[in-house]
Structures are given as structure tokens and as C-alpha cells.
């Protein structure tokens, strides 16, 4: 089977769901479940049918299928399925702020949009040309504009939507302008055809274009100083969309970043040193900002927003030391540990009607199993050994030390990890040290229960045995 067909199937699924949505009455949660099931089918197709997929010759110029592309497609599909499942279990909150009651009649599009985003993400993983990268990225971003602002009866969600729209549009502007300059300097849109040894390449122009691109990517991944939108948008957006933003949108940003920057980070590139220096500086600033600002957060969703900035810092460090395998690995486990946290957050948000850290007080007494799963997730995000999160940081540090990136950056990164221990453990503290505000046991919906159990145990399994993920990247 040809790999691009799978993306076409995904888009087809989205259109079918939109049609189906128009002809169903009442609660639309069924659409969400059908979408998740459909994507699960596509995931199986991706994993089985594409053992030796080949790209047709006419597509080769802008589409390529390799193990990395496949890996990121799997991440995109898994993230989308999890977002859909989370939305289904969180329908009460979503419904309250859309149709204004518990009916769930206005949620149809909310379950269809992620499918289109997913198609965009999958295409992006294979795109090998500046134009197709741009188009795929916009498909993802435009769907996100709608999803962030979807709870239209909630001021926070609307505010987040506007902020995201304006800054997203601004970053798109930077991206297009940057692409134009890079095209002007190198004379090609095809990333594999870029030849930096040609004498006529003007370094200044190229660097200017790359700087614009770095700014645009910085917006997408939340790198300092382009990170300011992240906390507000993350806090305001519906929780499943926040999870989606923090995993899939970030992964998309990094995928594009790796693809576009790769030719310029090669050993023969004349701009390699400058580009690396810029990446180190951005990574250091991102690490410091994310970690230091997270310390004082009292809202769990905001805390996760700052933590996502902090993780972007580590990932940028990985890109700076040109170790893309580690970055890809990190993104994969980041999905697992972040979704564990968000599933539990969505559950608590639904039942306590609050997403502050106080809402988790005494969770250890109210629901020990949930509390231990969240503890595992926090430990993984903090990077405690024997959890998958540790391997992510370990690989990044290892290659950073191996490639001799600046000692300052490494020192900042190590201090950041130690800071992380503090703010992630603050959640653990709330769950176990503090007494619950009410003793009513939390109701855990069926889907959430199984998903959390699977995610938390895979954090431990990959924490001891990370090789399976790396095998996917071979």
C-alpha cells in the first residue's frame, strides 16, 4: 500500500464524520467514539500495511516515507485517539459551555476537527518540501484555532482562541517570509536538494531567512521568547484541546523544525555554528523561563503549560546537539506521560469543577489508584529514573555532553531538572500530604480508567525497557 493513501483515508474519515454529524440528532458523543474507532483502524493499517511502503515516483519530490515519518504518524494517531476519548469522557463540561446544557448536541464538529488535524500531522511527518510542510502545518493550525475557542460560552476559552489566532497568524507570517528568504538564498524549495556548498549562496540572506524560521518554529513549540501565549491559551482551551496542543502541536513544531533545519545543521553547512549557537541560546532561555515560572503556579493546567515550555527547552537542546533520535524518543514518551496527567486533570476538572492544585488535595485518600497513577506521571515528567521520562532526559543529556555543547547550557539544563522535581512534587504533595476538601469518592468513567491504567503502566515498562520505542526509529 502506498503510504499517502492512509492520509487520504484519514481525510475521508473526517468528511464522512461531518456528513454523519449533520444527520444525527441528540447527543453527539457517538461521533467521537466512531472517530476514535476509525482512527484506531487507521493506526492498525499504518502499523501493519506499511512494512515496506514505497512512495510513487511523482510524489517523491515532496513526500517521503521512512521510519521517522512512520513514528510521527503513529504519535499523531495515538494523540488524536486519546484526545477524542478524553473529550467523550469530558462531554459534560464541554456541553455546558457550548449548547449551555448537558445535552451534548453542539459537540459534533468538536469530534470531527481532530481527525483533520491528525491528517495534517500525518502529512507533515512525510512532507519534504517547504511548501507541503507549510500547507500541512496550516491544516493543523487552522483546526486548532476552532478547537481552542470551541467552548463559546466560556470567556476563558474565547480569550484563548483570540490570542492563539492572532499569535498563530503572526507566526505563520514569519514562516512564509522565512521560507521566501531561504528559497531566495538557496534557490530551491526541495529540502533534499539544498546544496550549501554552492559558492553563490549568500550567507547573510540565508541566516536572515533561518532566523525568521526559528521565530516561527519558536511560536509553535513554545520556545522563549515566543512562549508568552502558552500559559493563557493552555489554561483557557478545553482540557482535551490543551492536551492536544501540548503533545501534537508541539510534536508537529519539532518535526518541522528538525526537517527544515537538518540540511543547515550538516557538517558541511557554512551556517552550522551560528544556527547551533542560536539554538543553544533559545534552549537555555526556554529552560530557565519554563522551569522558574512553573515554580509558583497554583493552577495545575497552567503548571502543565509551563512544564511544556520546560520540556521544549530540553527538546531544543537535543536539536542543538543534532540528535534527532533522542528528540523523537522524547516526544513519544512525552505523549504518554502528559496524557496521563491530562486525563486525570480532565476527570478532576469534571467532578470538582476546578483545575487548581488544591482540587487534588487528598486524592491519595479519595482514590489511591488514581493518585498513584498521577504520581507516576509526575515522576516521569520530573525525570525520576525507572520511569520513561528519565530516558528522554538521559538521551538528551548524553548527546549534549558527547557533542560538547556549551557547558553553560548543560548546567542550566541540570538545574532545570532539579527545579522540576520541586514543582512536579508539589502536585504529589497536595495528593498525599493534604486532607481532602470533601470525602466523596471520585467517579472514574470506564474509558478514562482503562486509558490511565495503560498509560501509567507503559511509563514504567518503557522506563525499564526503552528499546521498543527506539526500534521504531531504526
Amino acid at each position: 500500500m502506498q503510504p499517502h493513501l492512509i492520509e487520504f483515508i484519514t481525510v475521508g474519515l473526517g468528511i464522512l464524520l461531518l456528513l454523519l454529524e449533520a444527520f444525527t440528532d441528540g447527543s453527539k458523543t457517538r461521533i467521537g467514539l466512531i472517530a476514535a474507532a476509525g482512527l484506531a483502524g487507521i493506526l492498525i493499517l499504518e502499523l501493519t500495511a506499511c512494512g515496506n511502503c514505497t512512495t510513487p515516483a511523482w510524489m517523491e519530490r515532496f513526500y517521503d516515507y521512512d521510519s521517522y515519518a512512520r513514528y510521527f504518524k503513529v504519535i499523531a494517531l495515538a494523540a488524536t485517539i486519546l484526545v477524542l476519548l478524553m473529550s467523550v469522557d469530558m462531554k459534560r463540561v464541554l456541553s455546558r459551555y457550548t449548547s449551555g446544557d448537558d445535552s451534548g448536541t453542539a459537540l459534533g464538529e468538536f469530534f470531527c476537527l481532530p481527525v483533520f488535524t491528525c491528517a495534517g500531522l500525518m502529512w507533515m511527518a512525510s512532507a519534504r518540501d517547504l511548501v507541503s510542510i507549510f500547507v500541512a502545518l496550516e491544516l493543523v493550525t487552522i483546526a486548532f484555532y476552532v478547537m481552542v475557542a470551541y467552548m463559546r460560552r466560556n470567556v476563558g476559552s474565547l480569550e484563548a482562541g483570540v490570542k492563539y489566532l492572532i499569535l498563530g497568524a503572526l507566526s505563520t507570517g514569519f514562516l512564509v517570509y522565512g521560507i521566501a528568504w531561504v528559497y531566495g538564498a538557496t534557490g530551491t524549495m526541495d529540502l533534499s536538494a539544498i546544496d550549501l556548498t554552492k559558492p553563490e549562496i549568500n550567507q547573510t540572506r540565508l541566516l536572515f531567512g533561518l532566523a525568521l524560521l526559528l521565530i516561527a518554529f519558536g511560536f509553535k513549540v513554545g520556545a522563549a521568547p515566543m512562549q508568552l501565549w502558552i500559559p493563557d491559551v493552555y489554561q483557557g482551551a478545553p482540557t482535551p484541546v490543551t492536551a492536544y496542543l501540548s503533545v501534537a502541536s508541539k510534536a508537529a513544531g519539532f518535526v518541522v523544525m528538525m526537517m527544515v533545519l537538518e540540511p543547515f545543521l550538516m557538517a558541511d553547512s557554512p551556517v552550522k555554528t551560528q544556527l547551533q549557537t542560536a539554538l543553544y541560546i533559545i534552549a537555555g532561555a526556554t529552560l530557565l523561563y519554563g522551569n522558574l515560572a512553573a515554580i509558583s503556579q497554583e493552577n495545575f493546567k497552567r503548571l502543565l503549560a509551563y512544564s511544556s515550555i520546560a520540556h521544549a527547552g530540553f527538546l531544543l537542546m537535543g536539536i542543538g546537539s543534532i540528535d534527532f533520535t533522542s528528540v523523537a524518543f522524547y516526544l513519544g514518551i512525552y505523549l504518554i506521560m502528559t496524557f496521563t496527567a491530562f486525563f486525570i486533570l480532565a476527570l478532576v476538572r469534571d467532578q470538582e469543577n476546578s483545575d487548581t492544585i488544591d482540587a487534588f488535595d487528598g486524592l491519595g485518600k479519595r482514590n489511591p489508584l488514581l493518585a498513584s497513577c498521577l504520581t507516576i506521571s509526575m515522576a516521569a515528567l520530573a525525570g525520576i529514573p525507572l520511569t520513561a521520562g528519565f530516558w528522554g532526559k538521559f538521551f538528551i543529556f548524553k548527546s549534549a555532553i558527547e557533542t560538547n555543547v556549551s557547558w553553560w547550557l548543560i548546567a542550566i539544563a541540570f538545574v532545570s531538572v532539579a527545579t522540576g522535581f520541586y514543582y512536579y512534587l508539589k502536585v504529589v504533595k497536595a495528593m498525599y500530604w493534604n486532607n481532602p476538601h470533601n470525602d466523596a469518592p471520585l467517579k472514574v468513567p470506564t474509558i478514562t480508567k482503562y486509558v490511565i491504567a495503560v498509560l501509567a503502566s507503559s511509563i514504567i515498562i518503557f522506563g525499564i525497557w526503552p528499546q521498543p520505542i527506539l526500534d521504531m526509529l531504526k
Binding site: 529514573p385 558527547e402 512534587l425 526503552p466 528499546q467
Partner: protein, 476 residues
């Protein structure tokens, strides 16, 4: 096979969380481990114990366990202290789950670290104790428990992250992360040694990275204090001996003057701080920090001269002896608090009249800790001082006093300091007239005696026959 030693406490912890009777499960796990460890130690030389599987191809990391001589000693220490820890302390009503499960998790982490024959998992298992410790001190500690819990967690996290930097820098130059592949690193030895000294040093409470220890031990529930001060703290020293000296011998020698100064900080500075303590638990916590200095002295002797034949056995023996004696002291201190509901030395007195068995055991443990002959610590300390002074003459018979020799001379005064604070505390707590808090105190029950006599007997046995521990170590 060796996986059983880690899995037994780990599964016990899970079972306790799932609702199994907490105390009984923990006790049977600890007993099972002690029996297994006895058998394993008697056959430690057999390569049949080595086991493991590959978890990562590049870098080459295996989850491999094996029994080395030093590892066997630490295994025995771990299981003995674990059993005593399960018996010790008074668990508050209704908190049995977290109390015993955390104790089991900490024990599993310690045992896992000492059995690992791969640097990565040696490091990783140690961190298994981090969150249980954080929870135990934070929920069930005494005094200013929240501050103490944060302090120990942040310090240990920072220390282990510095350590990780050092380990990565070193292991990047090795063919694999296995202990058997450790050789002197061709590059960056000074940086590696510095990072390892600070990293392991923080975990061992080397001066000036020690301030977390006393507060945390004083606040921690008895089992946590026993396991941490007795077993987990030895992780760093074990690491310096087994990894640090192997990968960066020249680097360690380079920093020798600093090691000497810092270890004197432990022995003299912290010794004087200990003298000034008004609370029994803080005094014990500080004394445990102080005694780390002696073990560091052995490390320094080894750093100064790799061929120093008694430095390593001395360090191991003292690590074992200190682990047992400090665990016994913390266990007894928690009993004193339970009987008299105070830890202030000034509010205690004459306890020997109402609780003679407690007084006898505390006296024995105190004597052991200050190094009275016949008890295990004496054998260790004497060997450390011999090791420290070993090279005072060069090959031509000329007197050649180096950093280590001078340090040893100053360090000897530490023995006087510990005698002063320990004997003074004993006199104030157990002798003199009865006071309000001790009038109604009762002697310890049979249940309390079991762990105390177990540890006390170990101290005596090793004191009279140190060979029982030294047989595990090749004296060159």
C-alpha cells in the same frame, strides 16, 4: 535469582497497597529476604548469581544483577536493617499502608542499587527511594516535617543530577555501562572526579552539602531514618569506591586536598555542631553525618595511593558497622520518644531506672558508635586510621607526610568529640534523678527488643570477628 531480592519487597509494597495486611506482609518479605541473603552471601563467589538482560543497545545498558564482595556486604546490611526497620517505630493508626509500603519501596531501591552490576541501574534504583521518603517525612514525620521533606528531596535530587552529569561524562568513554567494563577514563578525569565527588558527596552528606541530613533524619519516621542513614547513605560511598576510583583515579588524586579538607569539615565542624545539639534525634542525625567523614578518609587514602591495601576493606567494614549502629540508635531513639514523648535532652533523665533494657541497648549502641573495642565500629575505625597513615614513609624509609597523613592526625580528634557528645547524652538521658517525663516510662516490650537485639548482636559479632565481613573483600 537475584531479582527476587528486589521483587520481594516491591511486590510486598504493591500487595500492601492492594489491601494485604500491611505489617505481616512487610515482615514476611523482610524475613524472606534475610534468609535469601544469608544463602546468597554464603555462595557469593559463584558466578551463577549473575543475571540480566539488555534494555538498550546504544548505549549498551543492561538490567544486570550480580554479587560482588562489596555488594554482598551491602546486601547483608540492607536486609538486616530492613528487618529491624519494619519492627521499629510506631505506625499511626490508619496509616499502615503508606508506612509499610514506603519502607518496602525504600528497601527495594537500596537492595536494587547494591546488587546492580550496571552503572545505569545502580543509579536508577537509588532514586526509587526518593518519592517514598518524600511522602513518609511529609505525612508522618515529626516537628517541621514539611520543610525537612522538601529539603531532603531537593538536595538529593540536585545531588543525583550532578552525579548523573559525572556518570554520563565518564560512561561516554566506556564501551558499555557494565561494572566489568569500567576503566580509567582517557579524558576529562578531573571534571568527572569533581562531579562525582559533589554528586555522591551530596548523597553521603559530605560537608558542606550535609545540611539536609540531620533535619531529615530527626523528622523522619524511624524506619525511614534507619534505612536512609543506615543503608541508602552508603550508596554514595559505594559509588565512589566502585565507580569513582575506577573511572577517574587520577582525577580523584587531583582533588585529594579538597577531599581532605571537606572530610575534616565533616569530622571536626559537624562534630562540634553535634556537641551543641539539644535534641536527641538531631544529635544522632548530626553524628551520622560526622561519621561519614571517617569513611571518606578511607576513600581519600585510596585516592592518594591506589595500592593502599587496607583502605577499601576499611571503608567497607566501617560502612557496615556504621549502618548497623546508626540504625540501632535511631530505632532506640524512637522508642525513647514513644515512652517519654520528648526528644529534648534537658527534659530527660534517669530513664535507666524505669527502662533498664532500653538503657543497656542505647549504651551499647552509643559505645559502638564512638568506637569502643569489641564492637564493630572499632574494627572499622582502626582500619581507617591505619589506612590513612599507611604511607607515612616512602620507599627509602624517609618520613613523607602527605595530605592524608595530616588529615588522619586531625581526624583522630573526632573520636574524642564523639565520645564527649555520646557519653554526655547517655548520662543526661539515662542517669541522674527521674524527671516528669521519665517517671511513668515503661521498659521496652519484647516486640521492640527483637530488632534491637538483632542489630546489637550483629555489632558484637562483627566487633569480635570482623573477618566475617572482611572475607568478602580481597585484601591485596
Amino acid at each position: 535469582m537475584l531479582f527476587a531480592f528486589i521483587l520481594i519487597p516491591l511486590l510486598a509494597a504493591i500487595a500492601i497497597f492492594a489491601g494485604a495486611p500491611a505489617r505481616k506482609t512487610a515482615l514476611s518479605a523482610a524475613l524472606l529476604n534475610i534468609l535469601g541473603a544469608g544463602y546468597a552471601a554464603s555462595t557469593w563467589n559463584c558466578s551463577c548469581w549473575n543475571t540480566g538482560f539488555q534494555v538498550l543497545e546504544n548505549p549498551d545498558i543492561k538490567l544486570s544483577l550480580g554479587l560482588t564482595g562489596i555488594g554482598s556486604v551491602m546486601l547483608i546490611l540492607s536486609v538486616i536493617v530492613t528487618l529491624a526497620a519494619v519492627y521499629s517505630g510506631k505506625c499511626p493508626e490508619g496509616r499502615e499502608k503508606i508506612w509499610f509500603a514506603s519502607t518496602m519501596l525504600i528497601a527495594a531501591g537500596a537492595i536494587g542499587a547494591f546488587l546492580s552490576t550496571d552503572v545505569f541501574f545502580y543509579y536508577a534504583f537509588h532514586e526509587l527511594a526518593l518519592i517514598p521518603t518524600f511522602l513518609m517525612i511529609g505525612i508522618l514525620g515529626s516537628g517541621n516535617r514539611k520543610a525537612a521533606a522538601w529539603k531532603i528531596t531537593i538536595y538529593l535530587a540536585l545531588g543525583s543530577i550532578v552525579l548523573l552529569a559525572g556518570l554520563i561524562l565518564a560512561m561516554n568513554q566506556m564501551p558499555s555501562w557494565s561494572f566489568t567494563d569500567l576503566t580509567a577514563a582517557p579524558k576529562h578525569q578531573n571534571e568527572i572526579a569533581l562531579l562525582l565527588i559533589i554528586g555522591f558527596g551530596t548523597l553521603v552528606s559530605l560537608f558542606p552539602f550535609h545540611s539536609w541530613a540531620a533535619a531529615a533524619y530527626a523528622s523522619a519516621p524511624a524506619p525511614v531514618a534507619m534505612l536512609h542513614a543506615g543503608v541508602l547513605k552508603k550508596f554514595g560511598l559505594y559509588g565512589l569506591l566502585v565507580i569513582g576510583m575506577k573511572v577517574a583515579p587520577e582525577g580523584m588524586a587531583h582533588w585529594l586536598p579538597w577531599i581532605c579538607i571537606l572530610l575534616l569539615g565533616n569530622i571536626i565542624w559537624v562534630g562540634l555542631v553535634t556537641l551543641n545539639q539539644k535534641r536527641l534525634d538531631l544529635m544522632l542525625g548530626n553524628s551520622s553525618v560526622m561519621h561519614m567523614g571517617y569513611i571518606f578518609l578511607a576513600v581519600a587514602a585510596l585516592a592518594a595511593n591506589e595500592n593502599n591495601s587496607i583502605a577499601e576493606p576499611a571503608a567497607i567494614l566501617l560502612m557496615f558497622a556504621h549502618g548497623i549502629s546508626i540504625a540501632l540508635l535511631f530505632s532506640l531513639a524512637s522508642m525513647i520518644e514513644r515512652k517519654t514523648s520528648t526528644m529534648e535532652i534537658t527534659q530527660l533523665g534517669g530513664l535507666a531506672k524505669t527502662a533498664p533494657a532500653l538503657a543497656f541497648l542505647f549504651g551499647l549502641a552509643g559505645m559502638a558508635s564512638i568506637g569502643l573495642p569489641g564492637l564493630a565500629n572499632f574494627a572499622g575505625e582502626v582500619m581507617v586510621f591505619f589506612a590513612g597513615f599507611a604511607d607515612w614513609k616512602d620507599a627509602n624509609g624517609q618520613i613523607n607526610m602527605g595530605w592524608v597523613q595530616w588529615t588522619t592526625i586531625i581526624a583522630l580528634w573526632g573520636v574524642v568529640i564523639s565520645a564527649v557528645y555520646m557519653l554526655r547524652a547517655f548520662r543526661r538521658v539515662f542517669q541522674g534523678p527521674l524527671v516528669k517525663s521519665t517517671e511513668t516510662a515503661t521498659d521496652i516490650s519484647i516486640c521492640d527488643k527483637i530488632p534491637a537485639y538483632l542489630l546489637a548482636a550483629t555489632l558484637l559479632l562483627v566487633g569480635f570477628y570482623p573477618q566475617i565481613i572482611l572475607q568478602f573483600i580481597n585484601i591485596k
